[in-house]
């Protein structure tokens, strides 16, 4: 760059800065009219607990005005001041990070000022949040799709950095002939051992399994998957899933398992095995999840109420209710114990689904809904927490809404829970976070922040199956895609002696979310 160019660019930059400063309206902070309520903001980031490492909570001010000013402050450090001529408030990332880092465990205030010609500047009551001491895991892996029925154009798995807004593709179904990619699972919140199930008419149904930086393609699509904490095996469900439709309601889709069982795959032996106790002929077993010490596998189980195993929907489909069960396991001897009921559907009169144990082993969060196996389609789905020491459970009242809550997962430090909720619009799932304290008390949830505060207002895709991980997925999308394309390198012995038949899936059988 020549001196002339350098000077020109400096001049332009300086001029722009001057224009920006001069066009800002001076805010008379002390003399403006006080409004005795907090300003309305969207998304709702008020009275909640936020991680100290979360990206700026940009928001839109829902008050009429021509000029907007927000001061973000806490006990330590200089406040951040944001001026805007529209109602969107975007907080500078670096200043935000510094402020949060300095104030772990303290309050964070948003002071909102709005100007319009009639009322001049008005100052609203501050919006206050708590900054937690404990950080959240740095990355979120989620499925990004439109609300699907029978057909799809694009199903992607993305990784989002929690500390900023960076999205990175993990796998795009279009990279292997518009295949379906779903059921991503991680071992101990780490991508060092992980799996993604893929389904493709052309390339077969398979699971892409990462372990010790090796990627293999296993010729079975693992359903709901739970990695053993040792990383040496993974338990997964095999589901004969069918979708059907209602004719009314915000959510018209419904899903039923006509049959299901739980199997497991031993990575060292490259062998898939069926757990006899979890392949009962007249019951369906699904949603496996491990206790953090790896000695118990929790899962859900329901009796099969229908004779015809092909009819869709089967008779009494809306009477199916799953029990919460567990079974002991010894990794060294590869021996399974006896299944036992943890919480019975008879007791709750609801279907108990999606158990997830906190990494510290203290709590188990699960979903209950009116019937069936697919809570994201049931508006009655709510989150519940069980104290595994006391064996009592309670509804997470602060977390639930009138719409579906589901697909939750824990952070590695057991203080954060992420989950999917349809509360914002009834149909589109969004990712929320809540802080769970040591007594199992949950804070008011907040939505995954985006750089553009109006992002969700026009987003026709859903954020589904959020999973928190501590560091980024190391395998690049093209490697996953190449593996999905490849022939099977690791042919495994898949026993066919189980009572539950392993059913090949078809595109129209896939789960929507």
């Amino acid at each position: 760059m020549t001196n002339f160019h350098r000077s020109l660019s400096l001049f332009i930059t300086a001029s722009m800065m001057f224009m920006c400063v001069s066009c800002q309206k001076k805010v008379p902070l002390e003399s403006c009219t006080q409004v005795s309520r907090p300003a309305g903001i969207s998304p709702d980031y008020s009275n909640t607990v936020i991680p100290p490492n979360v990206a700026p909570l940009n928001f839109r001010i829902l008050e009429n005005g021509d000029h907007f000013f927000v001061r973000v402050s806490s006990s330590q450090g200089a406040p951040i001041e944001v001026y805007s001529r529209n109602s969107n408030i975007e907080i500078p990332l670096r200043l935000w990070k510094t402020l949060l880092d300095q104030n772990r465990g303290k309050k964070l205030s948003f002071d909102v000022f709005v100007y319009n010609a009639e009322t001049n500047w008005r100052r609203y009551q501050p919006i206050v949040n708590d900054i937690a001491k404990e950080p959240i895991d740095s990355y979120l892996v989620y499925r990004f799709i439109r609300p699907l029925y029978n057909y799809w154009n694009s199903i992607c798995v993305y990784e989002r950095a929690i500390g900023n807004y960076k999205n990175t593709l993990v796998l795009d179904g279009r990279s292997f002939n518009n295949g379906c990619t779903n059921c991503h699972a991680f071992c101990n919140n780490s991508p060092e051992a992980m799996s993604i199930a893929t389904r493709s008419r052309k390339h077969g149904n398979s699971s892409l399994v990462v372990r010790d930086n090796n990627l293999i393609k296993v010729p079975t699509a693992w359903g709901y998957t739970a990695w053993h904490p040792s990383g040496r095996m993974a338990a997964y469900s095999i589901n004969k899933v069918r979708q059907f439709f209602h004719t009314i309601g915000t959510e018209m889709r419904d899903v039923i398992d006509l049959d299901s069982a739980i199997s497991y795959y031993k990575l060292d032996e490259k062998t898939a095995k069926i757990i006899t106790a979890l392949s009962e002929k007249n019951r369906m077993e699904t949603y496996p999840t491990w206790s953090p010490d790896g000695t118990y596998l929790y899962y859900c189980s329901a009796p099969i109420l229908w004779q015809d195993r092909d009819e869709v929907p089967p008779k009494d489909y809306n009477q199916v209710k799953y029990d919460l069960m567990r079974i002991s396991y010894d990794l060294e001897t590869d021996q399974w114990g006896k299944a036992e009921v943890v919480l019975s559907a008879n007791e709750t009169d609801m279907s108990i689904l999606l158990p997830r144990v906190s990494p510290d082993g203290r709590f188990l969060v699960f979903v209950m809904c009116d019937y069936g196996c697919f809570p994201v389609y049931r508006p009655s789905s709510d989150l519940y927490i069980m104290d595994l020491k006391m064996r009592n459970y309670q509804k997470l009242d602060t977390v639930n809404s009138a719409y579906s809550e589901s697909w939750h997962s824990w952070s590695s430090n057991s203080r954060w829970l992420t989950f999917s909720s349809k509360r914002m619009s009834g149909l589109f799932t969004r990712t929320y976070f809540t802080y769970i304290d040591e007594n199992g008390k949950a804070s008011k949830p907040f939505i995954l922040p985006q750089k553009d505060p109006t992002y969700y207002d026009s987003l026709l895709q859903t954020y589904s199956v959020p999973e928190l991980i501590t560091h980024p997925v190391m395998v690049k999308p093209h490697r996953f895609a190449r593996a999905a394309h490849s022939d099977f390198k690791d042919v495994v012995n898949l026993p066919v002696t189980g009572a539950t038949k392993i059913v090949p899936s078809e595109p129209w059988e896939q789960q929507g979310e």
């Binding site: 057909y151 154009n153 199903i155 389904r199 493709s200 209602h246 004719t247 018209m252 589109f428 026009s458």
Partner: protein, 339 residues
Amino acid sequence: MYKEEVTEVLQVGYYADKEDWQSLLEYVERHPGSQHNKFCNYDINRALYYTGRFGDEMFSYYQSPPALLLPTSLGSTSSNDSTGSPEVMYRYIRKVDLFMELGYLGTAKRYASEGLETGNGCPHMTKKLALICLAEEQNETAKVYLGALSKDLVYGRFARQLLQRLDRDPQLTDYEPVQRLRSIAFKRDYIGSYKMEHFFSQLLWRNPHNKMAFEYMMASYLLTGQVNKIAENISRLHEFGYKKIPRHYQEALLIYTDSQPQRGSGEKINLEGLSVSSEATQCYQNFIKEAMPLYMRKRDRRMTRQYLAKDFGNTYMFYMCEELPRFKNLKNFQGLVND
């Protein structure tokens, strides 16, 4: 499809989307070959309904029973795993309007969602989804669709105006498109596929004044040769304000009356003050006079067809004798709603 056929399908679809029914029918007159395409056939029927000519003139055009509601699974083929063939996708997109117009909003919403996904965010489908959600009073969902649509070059203004209107009046009490959908919306949960007859009767049960459902039900009876059902339902004409019995219904009644073991039993049909016209009776008698000897003598079928088509090609009698026997899978056709 050939290039010309694709052009015809898209042109007819264009007029249908604009609700320019007269131009649609004029275009079909100029391109008579187009009516043999199921998509055109489907939109021609809609045009006939909206111009008040369905019961009088539907057999002036080629008719194929499956085209009435365009079943999605009939002959569907997938080009790959997920997106289906363009033809299947176009079926979903075309079906949305009719299901909305009939008041079957839930299924219309499903078809529009399929169209939105496979059409990669098709704004036309986004608009339909927004309207359906508003009709179902799912305003928050509708706002997301409108939010997306407001960024569209063509539909953006419409979406922004509707969002503003929604802020002022969440019930949209003065917004006719939504109020009309609400007035005919079918609000009962139903799962699985069912027969077309059941489909229409459900719609009429919900809203006895759903004239479109009535005319489509009668058309389905005509297309499947169920003249007895035409006779059963003819007394309902007065509920919809008919001043005369549509021509094809008259022809069906004459066939029905003639097919009774005891001739004349058809006179017992309650016509609620309406009557079968002398012209229709004369036409029917002429057909019998001309056609019966030809059928009895088992003359060359093609010649017979050509001969009869000259004077009777636009009658229901001709359809019954010459077209209907060619459709062998009517059983499927009757059971494919909500597929």
